[in-house]
C-alpha cells in the first residue's frame, strides 16, 4: 500500500494564472531559484515564447497556462542547457508533455538538469496553432471556455486524447489545479529538490490532497478510454500502405514536423545528408520502374525514418501537427505508432529519469516471437539454398 500523496495548498488572489505567478514570485523572493523559464506573451500580444525571467515585474507577462504551444518547452530547455549547465538555478514551468520530452532529452544527453527544477502543471490542453493565428482574440475566448472544462472539442486532436495531462512523476514539483478551490492551487513535491522549494517558501507538504488525486485519476481513466477508441478508429484509416500513402499525400517535405519535434535533435538529419542525394540516372530509373516518380522523392520514407528514430520517445505533444502547412495529421500517426512501440517495450517515455531508453538495454528474453520467425525464415532460406 503506497502512502497517499501529500501536498501543500497555496492561496492567493486572482485567477489560476495569477495564483501560480504569485507562487513563483514568492519562490523567487525566497531564493528557491534564480530565474524561471516560462512562456510569456510577446510584446505585440499575438504570440508566446519562452522567456527566462529573473525580474519580478516582467513576470506579469508570463502565461504558465498558455493557450497554444508555439515552441515545445523541452526544446527551450535544450537551447538553454544543451551546452552544459550554467551557474544560475532555474525553475522551468512546463506542460507535462514538455517535462516528459525533457526527460527523454536528458536520457539522450541533450539537456543538463543539474541546476534545473522541473515544475509541471495540470494541463488543460492547447488550441491548434492555426486557430490562434487565424483569430487570436476568438481563440482566447475559446480557451477561457476550455479552462472552465468546456469546449474540449476545440483543443488539438492529441490534447483531446491525452491521458498524461498531470504529474508524470519525473518532475521536481507539480502544480495541481484540478479540483482546487477557487483562489488556491496544490503544490505537490515529486523529488527532494521540490521538497526543498516548498520548505523554503514555508509550505511543507502536509495537506491531504486526495481530492485532487481522485479528480486526476478519474479524468485519466476517461481519457485512456477515449485515447484507445480514437487510436483504434484512426488505425483503420491510416495503416496499410495505401492508407499511409494517402495520409501523407499532401506532404511537401518541408521538414517542419522534424524541426519543431522536441525529440528530433540530430544536428544534421539523415534526410538532409549526402546519403539521400542521388544521380539523375537513378531518379530516371526509379521513374521508369514506377511510370513516374514523385518529387520531392522519399516523402513517406522520411516520416517512416523519423518514426524509427524517435517513436519510442514520442510524448504525443502535437508540435509536429501544429507546424504542418498542409494539415497532415502527423501527431495522430506518431501517437498511434509511438503507443504501439512503447507498449512493446513496456516503456513510458518521460516517466522517470532513471529508466534507460529500451534500445540501450539488452534483455535476453524479449521478442522471442520475432527471433523465431527470423530463425524460421533463415532455416527456410538454407533449405532452399541446399
Amino acid at each position: 500500500m503506497v502512502s497517499p500523496i501529500k501536498g501543500a495548498v497555496f492561496t492567493a488572489e486572482g485567477s489560476t494564472r495569477e495564483i501560480i505567478l504569485a507562487f513563483i514570485k514568492q519562490a523567487l523572493g525566497k531564493d528557491c531559484f534564480d530565474a524561471v523559464l516560462i512562456p510569456a506573451k510577446a510584446p505585440e500580444g499575438d504570440s508566446f515564447s519562452y522567456l527566462l525571467i529573473q525580474n519580478e515585474t516582467i513576470l506579469k507577462d508570463a502565461h504558465p497556462i498558455c493557450p497554444i504551444m508555439p515552441v515545445q518547452g523541452a526544446k527551450a530547455l535544450h537551447s538553454l542547457t544543451g551546452r552544459g549547465k550554467g551557474k544560475k538555478r532555474i525553475a522551468a514551468l512546463l506542460r507535462p508533455c514538455e517535462v516528459r520530452a525533457t526527460v527523454e532529452l536528458f536520457k539522450l544527453g541533450q539537456v543538463d538538469l543539474e541546476n534545473i527544477s522541473l515544475i509541471s502543471i495540470d494541463c488543460p490542453g492547447a488550441l491548434p496553432l492555426a486557430d490562434w493565428v487565424e483569430d487570436p482574440q476568438k481563440a482566447e475566448t475559446v480557451f477561457l471556455e476550455v479552462l472552465k472544462g468546456e469546449a474540449s472539442e476545440s483543443l488539438r486532436p492529441v490534447c483531446q486524447i491525452c491521458d498524461k495531462f498531470s504529474t508524470t512523476g519525473a518532475e521536481d514539483l507539480h502544480i495541481g489545479t484540478l479540483g482546487a478551490k477557487s483562489g488556491s492551487i496544490f503544490l505537490i513535491p515529486r523529488s527532494p529538490k521540490g521538497e526543498g522549494i516548498l520548505e523554503k517558501v514555508g509550505l511543507p507538504a502536509k495537506e491531504d490532497i486526495s481530492g485532487w488525486e481522485q479528480t486526476v485519476n478519474s479524468l485519466t481513466e476517461k481519457r485512456k478510454g477515449e485515447r484507445k477508441k480514437f487510436l483504434e478508429e484512426f488505425k483503420s484509416k491510416a495503416t496499410g500502405l495505401d492508407n499511409l500513402l494517402d495520409t501523407f499525400s499532401k506532404c511537401i517535405n518541408c521538414h517542419n514536423c522534424m524541426r519543431v519535434c522536441p525529440i528530433c535533435y540530430c544536428r544534421q538529419c539523415f534526410f538532409d545528408s549526402a546519403n539521400m542525394k542521388f544521380t539523375c540516372e537513378d531518379y530516371l530509373d526509379r521513374a521508369e520502374t514506377m511510370g513516374g516518380l514523385r518529387l520531392p522523392p522519399e516523402t513517406l520514407l522520411f516520416h517512416i525514418g523519423r518514426m524509427l528514430h524517435m517513436s519510442l520517445s514520442c510524448v504525443s505533444c502535437g508540435a509536429c501537427e501544429d507546424a504542418c502547412p498542409t494539415s497532415v495529421p502527423v501527431a495522430q500517426v506518431f501517437s498511434l505508432v509511438g503507443n504501439k512501440n512503447q507498449e512493446e517495450f513496456d516503456y513510458v517515455p518521460g516517466k522517470s529519469l532513471d529508466e534507460p531508453p529500451p534500445l540501450r538495454v539488452y534483455e535476453e528474453e524479449e521478442f522471442e516471437e520475432v527471433e523465431q520467425s527470423c530463425a524460421g525464415t533463415s532455416a527456410k532460406q538454407e533449405a532452399q539454398n541446399a
Binding site: A35, L37, A42, P43, E44, D46, S47, S49, L51, L52, I53, Q54, N55, P70, V71, A76, S79, L80, G82, R83, G84, K85, K87, K88, L129, A130, V133, S249, K250, I252, N253, C254, H255, N256, R259, V260, R267, Q268, D272, A274, K277, F278, T279, C280, E281, Y283, L284, A287, E288, G291, G292, L293, R294, L295, P296, A323, C324, P325, T326, S327
Partner: protein, 367 residues
C-alpha cells in the same frame, strides 16, 4: 521574330500533346511536370517516363507544391542529366533555377526548359481544403483577359516577372483569348526549335501578345503597392512585429529554392549559446529570450538569399503562423537587387553581384 507552334487544342491539351510527342519520339527520356495526387486539387511535381502517366499530368495546374528549381537542382546536383528531360516550370521557378546554376547547384545539360506566361498559383492551403478545382473556370477567364485571377497567392498577384526568361519554349497563356481552344508555343531558342521539329501543327512567326502582357504587368504593380500598403510595409519592416510569431520551424528555408546550403548555419550549432549568454542577459535586462531567435534567423536568411530571391512566395505558403514572408522577400530582395542593378534569373551570363568586384560601386559606403 521567334517561331510559334500552334496546335488546335486548349493550352494544356496542346502542351500535353507536345510532351507526348517528345516522349514518344524518344527526343526526351523523361518529362518533369505537375501531376495531380487526388481529385481535390492536390498536385506534385513528377518525373514521368511513361505515356500513360503523362496522360494524367496537368502541367499548367495553378499550384506550386514545391519550387521546381529545387527539384531540378536535386535531379542534376550529383551529375548532369545524362538523358534529355523536358521540364515544364513557372517563370519564377526558371529564374530560381538560373540562380542555382550560377551557384553550381545543378546543371542545365540535357534539360529542355518549357515555361509559360504565368497566371499565378493558388495558396497551398487551397490544395488541402480542396477547392482549387471549382476556381479553375474563373482562373482561366482571368488569364484570358490578362487580369489578376481572384484568390491567387499574394506573391503571384504582385509578381511582375510572369514572362519567362531563358525558356526554350513559352506557352502563351496571359491574354490568349483562345486559351481553351488553341495552344501557342513560342520557340525561343534553337534548342526549342529542334525539339519541336517533326510535330504536326502550324508553324508561323509571331510575338507574345505584348499589349496584354503590359496591361497585366501594370495591374500587378498596382496590386503590389496596395498589398504593401495593407501590410504597412511600404517604408520598410518593423522586424520585431513581423517576425514575432515565428516558431522556428525554418520551413521557409527548407523549401526556398535559393537557400541551398547543405548544412544551414542554424543547424551547425553556430546560433547556440553557452549558458553564460543567458546569465549575462538576466543580469543586464532581468530576462532573456530563449531560442529560437526568430529575428536573428530571419535576418540572416534574408542576408543570404535576398540577392537571388525571385519572389516565388513559397516561404509564405509553408509558414504555419502566416507571416507575410512573400512581402518581406519581395520588398527586401527588390531593394537589394535594385541597388546592384541585378535581376536574379534574368540571364545566366549575368554575374552574381557579390562575386563580381567593381572598384567604383557603392562609393557612398566606401567613403
Amino acid at each position: 521574330m521567334p517561331k510559334v507552334l500552334r496546335l488546335n487544342k486548349s493550352a494544356e491539351e496542346g502542351l500535353r500533346e507536345l510532351l507526348r510527342f517528345l516522349l514518344e519520339s524518344g527526343k526526351v527520356k523523361g518529362v518533369f511536370a505537375l501531376a495531380p495526387t487526388d481529385d481535390n486539387g492536390g498536385a506534385v511535381y513528377s518525373l514521368i517516363t511513361n505515356l500513360d502517366t503523362l496522360e494524367k499530368a496537368s502541367p499548367l495546374f495553378p499550384l506550386m507544391p514545391a519550387n521546381a528549381a529545387k527539384m531540378l537542382s536535386r535531379l542534376t546536383l550529383v551529375e548532369p542529366a545524362t538523358k534529355p528531360i523536358a521540364a515544364v516550370v513557372r517563370p519564377c521557378e526558371l529564374r530560381a533555377l538560373t540562380e542555382l546554376i550560377k551557384r553550381s547547384q545543378g546543371s542545365l545539360d540535357n534539360l529542355l526548359l518549357i515555361s509559360s506566361t504565368c497566371g499565378g498559383a493558388y495558396p497551398l492551403k487551397m490544395a488541402v481544403t480542396g477547392n482549387i478545382k471549382e476556381k479553375l473556370p474563373s482562373y482561366w477567364e482571368a488569364v484570358k483577359k490578362a487580369e489578376i485571377a481572384p484568390d491567387i497567392r499574394p506573391a503571384c498577384a504582385a509578381c511582375e516577372h510572369f514572362v519567362p526568361y531563358n525558356a526554350d519554349m513559352t506557352v502563351a497563356l496571359v491574354g490568349n483569348k483562345d486559351v481553351d481552344k488553341q495552344c501557342a508555343v513560342y520557340l525561343n531558342t534553337d534548342k526549342g526549335e529542334q525539339f519541336a521539329s517533326g510535330i504536326s501543327g502550324e508553324l508561323a512567326e509571331g510575338e507574345v501578345a505584348s499589349e496584354a502582357i503590359e496591361g497585366l504587368r501594370s495591374k500587378r504593380e498596382a496590386r503590389a503597392k496596395e498589398l504593401f500598403d495593407e501590410l504597412g510595409v511600404n517604408k520598410g519592416f518593423d522586424v520585431k512585429k513581423v517576425f514575432e510569431k515565428c516558431i522556428g520551424c525554418r520551413g521557409c528555408s527548407k523549401i526556398c529554392p535559393v537557400c541551398y546550403c547543405h548544412v544551414c548555419f542554424f543547424d551547425s550549432g553556430g546560433d547556440e549559446h553557452e549558458p553564460s549568454y543567458y546569465e549575462t542577459a538576466l543580469e543586464r535586462d532581468g530576462y532573456g529570450q530563449i531560442l529560437p531567435d526568430p529575428i536573428f534567423y530571419q535576418l540572416v536568411r534574408l542576408f543570404h538569399v535576398s540577392l537571388s530571391c525571385v519572389g516565388c512566395g513559397l516561404c509564405a505558403d509553408v509558414c504555419p503562423v502566416n507571416i507575410p514572408l512573400w512581402a518581406v522577400a519581395l520588398k527586401t530582395g527588390g531593394s537589394v537587387q535594385e541597388s546592384f542593378g541585378y535581376l536574379p534569373g534574368r540571364d545566366l551570363e549575368e554575374e552574381l553581384p557579390i562575386t563580381a568586384f567593381k572598384p567604383e560601386e557603392f562609393a557612398a559606403v566606401v567613403d
